[in-house]
C-alpha cells in the first residue's frame, strides 16, 4: 500500500497542476531549489554535530546514558537507544537529525528502533527555537505556561511514537 504513496503523489501532483493550469515543472524545480537551500543551510551544522555525536558515542558516554535511561524508558515501552533524540530534539533540529541519523545507521532504518527514531523526529518541532522566534517577534517577556505545555506535547509525542511503532509494526 505504501508503495503507491510516492509514485501516485508525483503523478497526481502533475495532473492536478495540469487541471489547474499551473506550471508544474517550474514549480517543481523552484521548490527543489528551495530544498537545496535548506540542505546547504544544515550542511555545516550536520558536519559539526555528527562529529560531536560520533565522539560522544566512541567515548562510551552514549552507552552509559542509554543504560541509565533504560529502566525508566523500558518500563514506558520506549527503546532506550532513542534517549539521545528526546534530549536534543526540543533544543536543535539539526542535532536531532544528526542523532537520529546515527541511530538509524547503527540499528537500521527499518528496525523498531530506527522507525521510532524517525517518528519521534516527524511528530515534533524544535520547541525552544519556535518559542524564541514567536515571542521574540511579539515582544513577549512573560511566557507563562508556554514551555511546560509545549514540553508536555513533546513528551506525549515521543511516547506515542514508540507505542504506535510497536502497534503498527509488531
Amino acid at each position: 500500500m505504501s508503495d503507491y504513496v510516492v509514485p501516485v503523489l508525483l503523478a497526481g501532483a502533475a495532473l492536478y497542476a495540469l487541471a489547474r493550469r499551473a506550471d508544474v515543472y517550474a514549480a517543481l524545480t523552484d521548490g527543489a531549489a528551495e530544498g537545496l537551500k535548506t540542505v546547504w543551510r544544515i550542511f555545516p551544522s550536520l558536519v559539526a554535530l555528527l562529529t560531536a555525536v560520533y565522539m560522544f558515542r566512541a567515548s562510551g558516554a552514549l552507552d552509559s546514558l542509554t543504560a541509565w535511561c533504560a529502566p525508566a524508558l523500558g518500563w514506558l515501552g520506549v527503546p532506550p537507544e532513542t534517549a539521545g533524540i528526546m534530549l536534543v530534539r526540543p533544543v536543535s533540529g539539526s542535532a536531532a537529525l544528526a542523532v537520529a541519523g546515527e541511530i538509524m545507521a547503527a540499528h537500521g532504518p527499518d528496525s523498531a528502533i530506527g522507525r521510532t527514531a524517525a517518528v519521534m523526529l516527524g511528530c515534533s518541532e524544535t520547541t525552544f527555537y519556535t518559542v524564541a522566534v514567536y515571542f521574540g517577534a511579539a515582544k513577549i517577556r512573560r511566557t507563562r505556561h508556554t514551555i511546560p505545555a509545549a514540553l508536555v506535547a513533546d513528551a506525549v509525542g515521543f511516547l506515542a511514537a514508540a507505542w504506535t511503532v510497536r502497534l503498527f509494526f509488531p
Binding site: 492536478y16 530544498g35 527499518d110
Partner: protein
C-alpha cells in the same frame, strides 16, 4: 546559545569519558569519521529533500494551501476565538497552519509571527491564553508528510521510507492534543 551548550556538553563529556575509560584513540578517530559522515548524510539527504520541496511547491501553486486554510478556519474559530474575530489575523493563522500541514516551514513562520504580533498588541509583554495556545500549536508539529524524517530513512536505505506515516499522524495528533490540554489546565494556575 543553545547550540553552544549542545556542542560543548557533547564534546567535553566525550573527552572526559574517554580519558576516564581509556578510549581516547577511538574518540580521536570518531571525530573525523563523524565529520565525513555529516558530509555523506547531507549528500544522500539532498535528493529526497529537493524532491519533496518541489512536490510541496507544486501543491502550493495549485492552491492546495488556500484550500487547506479554508478547511482550518472553523477549527481556528473554536480554538482561538478572540484572534479569529479579526479577519486579517484569521487569514494569517489559517495560512500558518496550512503551511505547517504541508511542511513548508519557510512559509509558516512569517505568517505565524504576523498573527502572534497582532495577538500580542496591548498586552504589555504578557502572553495571553490564546497566544500561548498558538505557540504550543506551532511547537507540536502537525505534518501531513513528514518529509525530513522520510528523507532521512530513504538516505539510510529504508525499503519503504513512508511506511511510518500512520505512526507520525497518530503521534502528532496525540502530541498536539496533550499540549493544548496542558495549556488549558495550566492557564488558570499560571497567571
Amino acid at each position: 546559545m543553545a547550540m553552544d551548550a549542545v556542542w560543548t556538553v557533547l564534546t567535553v563529556t566525550a573527552v572526559v569519558w574517554a580519558a576516564a575509560t581509556g578510549r581516547m584513540g577511538q574518540v580521536s578517530a570518531a571525530a573525523l569519521e563523524g565529520a565525513a559522515a555529516g558530509v555523506q548524510l547531507c549528500l544522500s539527504l539532498a535528493g529526497a529533500v529537493c524532491l519533496w520541496s518541489g512536490v510541496m511547491e507544486v501543491l502550493r501553486r495549485c492552491g492546495l494551501a488556500e484550500k487547506l486554510a479554508g478547511l482550518l478556519r472553523p477549527v481556528l474559530g473554536r480554538l482561538l476565538p478572540k484572534a479569529s474575530a479579526n479577519p486579517d489575523t484569521l487569514a494569517a493563522l489559517s495560512g500558518n497552519m496550512s503551511a505547517n500541514l504541508l511542511g513548508l516551514g519557510n512559509a509558516a513562520t512569517p505568517l505565524g509571527m504576523e498573527a502572534a504580533c497582532a495577538m500580542a498588541e496591548g498586552c504589555g509583554g504578557r502572553a495571553s491564553d490564546e497566544l500561548v495556545r498558538l505557540v504550543v500549536l506551532n511547537t507540536a508539529s502537525i505534518q501531513l508528510l513528514p518529509t525530513t524524517a522520510a528523507s532521512l530513512r530513504a538516505a539510510l536505505g529504508s525499503a519503504a521510507p513512508l511506511d511510518i506515516l500512520p505512526c507520525v499522524w497518530v503521534s502528532s495528533a496525540l502530541s498536539v492534543a496533550a499540549g493544548l490540554l496542558a495549556a488549558r489546565l495550566l492557564e488558570g494556575v499560571w497567571r
